[in-house]
């Protein structure tokens, strides 16, 4: 890992937002050859991926993952206010928590995606019926669902069925504790992908985008 990414990651893990901001400015200003060797997007994605992998290996904690994502989101929205706005480009994405008030996972994934320049709608907590309506109304192509409870995870199967019945076939990307304890659960509930940690959402979304050139034919 390049030392600028390493320094940024360490600033995030130490919750040092001042140092993190300094490093982002180094990259923006290409202050050193090393800082010029990465884009801001790479800086954040690589740092957050490494932090996410660290969480999987118990080297990094959930609190650090959340606070790191929050620092990235705050800095990026401060330095580039336009990234929070809908650009009209890219897939239509939404994120939600299904049947639950445990919102932390959604908040982390949202922060990481925004920090990587994606726009997404935040549906908060929804149920299956509300979600089908909103996916239809907003033309959602990638739906990210965070759950904590097993029954909420199992309800995604009902959601997929209801979406299909409504003639909708968005990509469903899922995450949360039940999917960590049962690695095949995402297939059982009809999701297209799951991540081991929040930063995986960026790679998954990029992967979907790379395979989909004609979004209108998918939905």
């Amino acid at each position: 890992m390049s030392s600028v990414v390493n320094r940024f990651k360490n600033a995030l893990l130490s919750l040092d937002n001042i140092k993190a901001r300094e490093i982002i400015l180094e990259v923006i200003n290409q202050a050193t050859p090393e800082a010029a060797s990465v884009t801001i997007e790479e800086l954040i994605y690589r740092s957050m991926s490494d932090i996410g992998e660290g969480w999987e290996n118990d080297a990094v904690t959930l609190a650090q993952v959340y606070m790191s994502g929050r620092i990235c989101e705050t800095l990026m929205l401060d330095l580039f206010p336009e990234i929070g706005a809908e650009s009209g480009k890219g897939p239509k994405m939404a994120i939600t928590v299904l049947d639950d008030f445990h919102l932390l996972g959604k908040r982390i994934v949202k922060s990481i995606l925004i920090s990587n320049g994606f726009h997404l709608l935040d549906y908060g907590t929804t149920n299956v019926e509300q979600l089908v309506e909103r996916v239809k109304k907003d033309g959602i192509q990638i739906l990210l669902i965070s759950v904590l409870m097993l029954p909420s995870a199992l309800r995604i199967k009902e959601l997929r069925k209801a979406l299909t019945a409504a003639g909708l076939r968005p990509y469903i990307v899922v995450g949360g504790a039940p999917f960590r304890f049962d690695r095949n659960l995402y297939l059982e509930v009809g999701a297209d992908a799951t991540g081991a940690h929040a930063a995986d959402a960026v790679g998954i979304v990029k992967g979907i985008i790379s395979t989909e050139t004609q979004w209108h034919s998918h939905n």
């Binding site: 959930l62 932390l104 049962d182």
Partner: protein
């Protein structure tokens, strides 16, 4: 030579003293399954103490395990603080929207009165009835949310993490209020007849907060609270990891620790052996898909890694078995625990060093 059969209480006390009883004790930490026994909804089941008592006693008989679990649902305590609880037909009752919406509210926060809370009194009533039913033959397990983890339901996880790292004075004030409540609630349960308290503290897990933060927050809270609980206490991290905390957790005064399926039981046994008994670590999420053979294999593996020398209670890794786990799986787990868990153990961990 095989030992004479002990009561569940004797079995558990023996293993908690790090000696081998007649067999590995089994705690099936069942809550909602009592509603299935009575043929009523989860919401109705938890509406009356008598239903919980009947459900627990029927499950004790059916599954031949070693405890009664006087735990209703995780948001019971925040319900006493005035929060909403959301009931669904197939999952544990869930906490509604957080009732601390702004951190400033913490300044004037007051804990609820245990005596004045209908839901807490209902739990004490079932504790008394269970004690009357089994006396000292079966341990009755009560539950508290740790003062350090309760704020996840009080104010939401994201806002709580921000409070821990950015508002130390308000954090300390919240701990002060929650600690007073936790101690009163735990001791009221013990006075009702409950034998031991499970102190659920997932936020303290090494998966959730950095060690240095834990040492100045959750650890200090546990060290202040647990010694003031007038009975045995087990710390539980609700499926999250605790292996890296083995060097300090015994200093809290807790006698046992609930361990995760994400960590190797043999490594946990080595780290905690002789200092804290282990409770775990069957994977509750996978359990719903197990057939009898899978259940037997999981039990065999856990006993082989954790059973030697006592200091081990076979249980699930979360502290609550999902509603989706069928009766036949629970019966298979129980049967395997009774046959494979008999001391001296006939099975050993093949992977042990």
């Amino acid at each position: 030579m095989a030992q004479p059969q002990l009561t569940s209480m004797q079995r558990v006390l023996t293993t908690l003293s790090h000696k081998e009883p007649d067999r590995v004790p089994l705690f099936l930490l069942l809550t909602m399954h009592g509603a299935k026994e009575l043929g009523i909804s989860i919401k109705e089941y938890f509406s009356k103490a008598e239903y919980v008592v009947e459900g627990q006693l029927r499950m004790l008989k059916k599954y031949r395990h070693d405890c009664l679990y006087n735990f209703y649902y995780a948001p019971l305590e925040v319900e006493a603080w005035g929060a909403d609880v959301i009931f669904r037909e197939d999952c544990p009752p869930n906490s509604g929207a957080p009732f601390i919406r702004k951190a400033d509210q913490i300044k004037s926060l007051r804990p609820p009165s245990v005596k004045g809370s209908r839901v807490l009194q209902k739990t004490l009533e079932s504790g008394r009835s269970l004690k009357a039913a089994v006396g000292d033959t079966v341990p009755i397990i009560g539950v508290v949310m740790s003062p350090f983890s309760l704020p996840v339901m009080q104010m939401g996880f994201d806002k709580y993490l921000e409070l821990i790292f950015e508002e130390p004075a308000l954090f300390e004030r919240l701990m002060e209020v929650n600690e007073a409540f936790c101690i009163e609630w735990a001791n009221a349960q013990l006075a009702s007849g409950v034998t031991a308290i499970v102190y659920f503290d997932p936020v303290s897990s090494s998966s959730i907060i950095p060690r240095e933060t834990f040492m100045r927050t959750g650890f200090n809270v546990a060290r202040r609270v647990i010694p003031r609980i007038k009975g045995p206490v087990a710390m539980h991290f609700a499926s999250e990891r605790c292996l890296p905390m083995a060097d300090v957790l015994p200093d809290t005064g807790a006698l046992a620790v609930g361990v995760s399926s994400m960590e190797c039981l043999a490594a946990l046994k080595k780290a905690y052996g002789g200092k804290m008994a282990l409770v775990g670590n069957l994977n509750g999420i996978e359990m719903r898909t197990w057939n009898a053979a899978a259940a037997t294999n999981a039990v065999r593996d856990a006993i082989a890694k954790g059973g030697a020398g006592g200091g081990f209670i076979l249980s699930d890794n979360h502290g609550e078995i999902p509603w989706q786990v069928p009766e036949q799986t629970l019966l298979a787990i129980s049967e395997a625990a009774h046959t494979l868990g008999r001391y001296p153990l006939a099975i050993a961990d093949n992977n042990a060093a």
